[in-house]
Every structure is written in C-alpha cells, then in structure tokens.
C-alpha cells in the first residue's frame, strides 16, 4: 500500500480472483440468517434510513411527484423529528434543478442517473454531456451505467475508459457506477466489472438499475463487497457499495447491512460508503421502527404514500 496507486486496467488483473457460485450463494444465505433483534434492529433500521437513496425513475415522474418525495426525503416521518433524513433523492436528469432547489441546505443529496440510463446504449459524448448538464443543474452525485454490451463483447478497455471519462467529467461529484449485475451472467464477471469500475475511479459501485430482473441479490452484493475489500487491500482506496432494485422490506435491507458489516466492517456502515436505492422501503423501515418501539404491529395507512 505504501506505493502510489496508478489507476489503470492493469489493476484488475493484479487483483484478479475468481468466484465459486455455490460457495458464494451459500455464504450469502448464511449471512441472511443472522437474527437481528431489539437494539441492534433499531440501529439497523435507523441506519438504513440514513443510507437510503429515495428513488423515483419513471417516465411518469412530474415536478409534483418530486416535491412530495423531497419532502419525504428531508423528513421521512412528519410526526417524528428524531427520524433522520435519507441520504439522497435519486431521479432523472430533467428533474434535477427542481430537486436541488427543494433540498438545498437539507443535507439530502441530489443524485441524478446519467450516461444513457438504464441501458447505456448512447454514444459516449452524449453520455458525458448528460453528466455535465446534471452537474450544472445542481446534482451532487451521479448514478452512471456501464456498457454491459461492451463488457460482454470482451471490450473491457471500453468500459474502463467510459467510467474513467465519466469520473473526469464529474470532477469532485460522487460517481456511482451501475454494473447491472442481472445482465452480466456470472459472479466471475460481476467481480471483474467491479474491479474495472473501481480501477477507473468509481467512488461507489452499484448493483442494478432496478429496470431489469433480477435486480440486486444478496450474493451479487456479497461478491461486490468482496471485490471492494480486495481493491482496498491492494490500493488503500475505500470504495462504496450501493444496492438497488427490488428492496422493499426492512428485513432485506438488514440482510444487506449484515453483508456489509461482516465483509467490509463497521467503517462501511455509513451513507458515505453504503447506500440502498429504494422507493417503498422507507415506509416499511418507519413501520418497523414503530413496532420495535411499541411492540404493536402497525397499519400501512398510517404512513404517507408519496
């Protein structure tokens, strides 16, 4: 670690490694059986809110929808000021300027998807321009997609260059590289894609767009967490993890937290290094917090639908 790190594609081969699918899934399954109760559950629920990227990525998104979500992001439960705000609001670029205005000074970051989300099948110059526009409109963070097509075609250098260029254009803004693990076909390639994105300078690697199935899975997240740990061992650079897509229940969020805790350690249990991208998860987290506090099961209609 003493030497200076050169970020290049050679890092990927230097770190290398392969993944046995059955062993990985077995380990993820074992971690999913951790029994998180009482105080430790409250800790996890509150942490999950702080790490939440409250997300809407629909063609039907409107300024009105963004206003509602921004309000929810700042104060997830109106009646309880002790509930922390979420980490970010994750939206399409067209709505960034509005969100930036609404969230100003709240501590909630504006995250914009970019680079031809969700498929990435757009020429590179347009993808980079999208980043520039989002930043100009006030985005703090960028959720970019990698070119899965290029990766599957064996053009690792193309993927590397795209992420590296995106990071260059993004400057100090946080870049989360979406691998879309559900399209990569094997854990070996998920590991490889993770290493390429990190070697190219991504601040965070993210499982999925949420637009295809399967979205985030526990083994894919574990595979990426292991790659993050190995990358850190080799370079001294701490990269974050974001899981997204299909995470609706608190118990699922807690399972991801367990994976992060036992693979990357407590240093990753912060919104700087871990995010959960979700929309309906937040209400379930609020409901579970109430249950933990009162011991009484609640009713979904008591939580605002935004």
């Amino acid at each position: 670690m003493g030497e200076t790190v050169t970020f290049d594609l050679g890092l990927v081969d230097r770190i290398g490694g392969s993944v046995d699918a059955v062993g990985l899934e077995d380990r993820a399954g074992a971690l999913a059986k951790r029994s998180i109760k009482k105080e430790s559950k409250l800790f996890a629920l509150e942490l999950a809110i702080r790490c939440c990227d409250l997300t809407t990525l629909e063609g039907s998104d409107t300024p009105g929808k963004i206003r509602q979500l921004a309000s929810k992001a700042k104060r997830p439960k109106a009646s309880d000021p002790n509930i922390p705000h979420v980490a970010a609001l994750c939206i399409y670029p067209r709505l960034v300027s509005l969100a930036a205005e609404l969230l100003k000074g709240s501590g909630v970051k504006v995250a914009s998807v970019a680079t031809g989300f969700p498929s990435g099948q757009v020429p590179l110059d347009l993808r980079l321009e999208e980043i520039e526009r989002a930043l100009a409109d006030g985005a703090d963070e960028l959720d970019i997609v990698i070119s899965r097509g290029a990766l599957l075609a064996g053009q690792e250098e193309v993927v590397f260059e795209e992420v590296a260029e995106s990071k260059r254009v993004a400057g100090g803004a946080h870049v989360k590289a979406i691998l879309e693990t559900g399209e990569l076909g094997s854990y070996d390639r998920i590991r490889r894609a993770s290493l390429i994105a990190m070697a190219a300078g991504a601040d965070v690697i993210k499982t999925s767009t949420g637009k295809i199935s399967p979205a985030s899975t526990l083994p894919a997240a574990l595979c990426m967490a292991e790659a993050i740990r190995d990358f850190g061992d080799a370079t001294g650079v701490a990269v974050g993890l974001k899981v997204a897509g299909g995470i609706r229940a608190s118990k699922d969020a807690i399972r991801y937290l367990v994976i992060v805790n036992e693979t990357l350690g407590p240093d990753w249990l912060t919104p700087d290094r871990f995010r959960i991208g979700a929309s309906s998860l937040l209400n379930d987290l609020l409901m579970q917090i109430d249950f933990q506090r009162s011991g009484v099961y609640s009713d979904p209609d008591r939580y605002t639908l935004d």
């Binding site: 046995d20 699918a21 059955v22 062993g23 899934e25 076909g185 094997s186």
Partner: protein, 277 residues
C-alpha cells in the same frame, strides 16, 4: 538306464523375482501318500517384510493402469495357464491326488477369464452418481485398498488360491500371498505363469512356509491394508483378527465368486463438486 529327470527348485516369488528365503530355511513337502515331493522354502518374517516392500513399490503402477489394460493382463494369465494346463494339472495331482486335478486347473483358468472381464465393469456396477439435495455433483466409485494379505486355503491349493487372487488384483491391489502350507508347490508354479503373463513384478508376491509363523506377521504388518483370512485355521483366527486391528485392517472372509469379491478389496471414494455457472 532311463534318463534322470531334472527337478525344479521351488522358491519364493517376490517383486517379480524367485528368491530363496533370506533365512535359508526349507521344509519338506509330501504328496498324498506321504511321498517326498520337494523342499519348499520356509519363509521368515523378513521375507514377509520384503514381500510387502515389493508390493508397496508395485501398487501405484498397477492401480494406475487402465482397467482395460488390467483386464488384458488377467486374461493373459489365463492364456499362459491354458498353455501349461497339463503341467499345472500334474503339479496339483502330485500334491493333492489325481482326482479332480484337471478340473481344478479348469476352474482356476476360468476364474481368471471371468474376473478379467470385471476390471472395467466393477466401477459401473458398484459406483453411483448420488442425487444429493443441493447444487452438487456427487459421485462414488470403488478404488483399490492398497496392499492385501491373502492367506490361501489349504485346498484346493490352486483354484482356491486363484479364486481369491483374481478378484484382489482385478480391482488394482497388490498382494502378498501365504500359500497353502500343506500344498505349496502349485502356488509357485502359478507364480511362473504370472511372471510370464505381464503381471508387473511385485503386484503378486507368494510366500511358502508355516502359517503359524507367517500369518501373525502379515496380519500385524502396518503397511498391509486388508487381509483375506479364508485360509486361516480356526486356531489362528482370533489371533489373526486381533493382530489386524493394529492398523484397522479390513478383515475379509471369502464368499462365492461375484463382483462383490472385487469390491470387498476396494474402498468407496465419494467426490463432491459444486454446480454453478
């Protein structure tokens, strides 16, 4: 005056060679009418040791031959014995009497042919793909145990020996035989057939001598993995089986010819591997 015949010196069969005992001892072997036949070698505990060393050297090569190859070697033994049929029959007749001698040779030859055909079928019939409840490939197949001690029955001295020897080496083991104490000569003539039938030296080692002297040593030997006690007398049985416990030897009591007699001298190895993309 008629011609004086040239008599054979009966020796041991160790590592493909025919040595005398390191002890220089012998014992008198007589025929059915108590007539003198020959002085057989009275092997010592050191000869047992040497025979096990020879078997140890030979086992890896023999077990790594293809099953097809081993089958051809076993079949070759039958061919050689057939070509020496009258010779072998005469040897059995001199030892045990004329009655049934030819039939004993027939049975011995047929046993080789039968087991020659089993070498490449045992794993198919006795092995399994096991349908475990999980994403794993799981297969069990028989493998040779290693070095086998074979105490041959007193009689029939030739077919009795072959009926045990053939299944033992069929599976790929190396063997140290203690021949019939009373009728040791056919075993040594069999050794001549083995030596000329492409059976690699050391795969089969044959000792002659006193059971009370040799069996306990063989049974206790830490490099012998299993012992066929078919020829062990009732008086020696308990002692032999107790000695076998020294290294948890498999103690095998013979049954009728079947592939189970081959697998009796084999271990089942089960290999697991995950199935994942």
């Amino acid at each position: 005056m008629s011609r004086v015949d040239v008599r054979k010196t009966y020796k041991l069969y160790i590592g493909g060679d025919f040595p005398r005992s390191e002890s220089g001892r012998s014992y008198e072997v007589v025929g059915p009418k108590d007539e003198f036949l020959a002085n057989a070698v009275r092997a010592s505990r050191k000869d047992v040791r040497d025979a096990v060393v020879a078997a140890h050297k030979a086992r890896a090569g023999w077990s790594s031959l293809t099953a097809y190859n081993r089958g051809q070697v076993l079949y070759r033994v039958a061919e050689i014995m057939e070509s020496r049929h009258s010779d072998l029959a005469e040897e059995v007749a001199r030892s045990e009497g004329r009655r049934g001698a030819g039939k004993q040779v027939d049975e011995a030859i047929d046993a080789w042919v039968w087991y020659a055909g089993w070498t490449d079928k045992v794993a198919q019939v006795m092995g399994n793909l096991n349908p475990v409840a999980g994403p794993y490939f799981n297969i069990s197949s028989p493998e040779p145990i290693g070095i086998i001690g074979l105490v041959a029955p007193q009689a029939p001295s030739l077919s009795g020996l072959v009926s045990r020897l053939a299944p033992i080496i069929c599976g790929g083991n190396a063997v140290v035989v203690i021949a019939s104490e009373k009728h040791p000569l056919p075993a040594i003539t069999l050794a001549e057939c083995l030596a000329t039938a492409d059976v690699p030296g050391g795969v089969v080692n044959i000792l002659t001598g006193h059971a009370w002297e040799l069996v306990p040593v063989l049974a206790a030997h830490m490099d012998v993995d299993a012992i066929d006690v078919g020829g062990v007398s009732l008086e020696l049985m308990e002692e032999t089986e107790r000695a076998a416990a020294s290294n948890v030897k498999r103690v095998i009591h013979p049954r009728d010819a079947s592939p189970y007699e081959v697998t009796a001298f084999m271990e089942t190895k089960t290999v697991w591997h995950p199935k994942g993309a």
